[in-house]
Symmetry: none
Subunit: 213 residues, 2 copies
DNA sequence: GAATCTATGTTTAGGCG
DNA sequence: GCGCCTAAACATAGATT
């Protein structure tokens, strides 16, 4: 049999999953290395297998990279909080420079985001933002943010609807399963297979936070 | 001129390097996501561009993953990772899993956002800075709002797509019902029978499963 | 710069030892 | 598990718009 197109969802067959994990783990690592080398970037990659084994790669020091990441996040957090430190510590020139940087970054982001991601965090962050900033901004910005929030509300309703549908379909599937035991398909595992050795996660349990496109 | 084989060394031309960075960064990110989804792995990826911009992706919580990595790296004989989020009930077979995948995707887009974007935190920064710097920030506001609108638009599209997919799943469910309740099961497991833990943290270290160079 | 195109290089699913 | 094989799927360098 020749190669099939696969869909990006959890591979059910344990063996196939492990094999794919091994292959793709190396693939991702290689890609990370290449990115680092070709583009002069710092890259850190941490992978935990379903069995809990750790694999990692980093272009330089993992600790340094993690620390750098943490600091960057922390800085952002501080800025996000109502703390006024920065007002005291920065001149207008410096702030202007930062703003320029951020604007550039945001442009880049817009480009990147065009494909697949965005959403949740943006909404959350904006909500948070709204609470944090008590009407101090000018009316134009407030109006726009309100508009944005309205859109978010709509999208959340849609999400709820989708979730409802999912629940319904789950029930349906449940019912069908109870009413008929016939199962055919590629693979059906015996539940007892799930009780493997103590080093083995049951992968079918892990409904982790995934994203497939 | 058509595509040449490239050698993995730093790209000299700045523009080409930036373009490649952008393309490959997304590529690596996608691969990381796929690995996570397909193989039920936890993946964290941190990338700093040559200009210092941060990009990251994580299949779940970046902080948790980093913390887990830190612990496993430094103390190999410490057992019993306390919390590995036990999953919700999953007893409906393939269709149910597909639906859950979709639901999860919808819910957790934020994580992909935090992976690809500079996060909503940048927005916070901008807001904060806007408040501090008097005037002359219209372009920043415009940029941000444009980004918001674009994001909303894309989110809508994505949700529509998900709804469509759910509709398809519904059809599938209908079909199954008509087929006398048979189930095209690929894998079925009962979570309650699957007890796991992970005690072999140090194994990966002994086996030299590292990619640092 | 960003988006798209496309020929080509690279990855990898599915097998097998 | 690992390594190798093949061909299909995929990623992407280079060019163009």
């Amino acid at each position: 049999m020749v190669r099939q197109k696969i869909q990006i969802k959890k591979i059910d067959n344990l063996t196939a999953r492990q094999v794919t994990f091994s292959k793709r783990r190396r693939g991702v690592c290689k890609k990370a290395q290449e990115l680092s080398t070709l583009c002069d970037a710092e890259v850190a990659l941490i992978v935990f297998s379903a069995t809990g084994k750790l694999f990692h790669y980093s272009s330089s020091s993992m600790m340094q990279l993690i620390e750098r990441h943490r600091r960057q996040s922390e800085i952002s957090d501080k800025l996000g909080q109502p703390s006024l430190q920065i007002q005291e510590n920065n001149s207008c020139g410096m702030l202007s420079k930062m703003l320029e940087d951020k604007t550039r970054e945001l442009r880049n982001c817009s480009r990147q985001l065009s494909g697949e991601d965005l959403q949740g965090l943006d909404m959350d962050e904006l909500m948070k933002l709204e609470k944090m900033v008590p009407g101090g901004l000018n009316s134009v910005v407030e109006t726009r943010n309100a508009k944005f929030l309205k859109e978010i509300s709509l999208l959340k309703k849609k999400e709820s609807k989708l979730l409802e549908e999912n629940a319904m379909l789950k029930q349906q599937a449940d019912f069908m399963q109870k009413s008929e035991g016939t199962v055919y398909g590629i693979h059906q595992s015996n539940p007892s297979e799930c009780i493997r050795n103590s080093h083995d996660y049951d992968t079918s349990l892990r409904l982790g936070l995934r994203f497939s496109n």
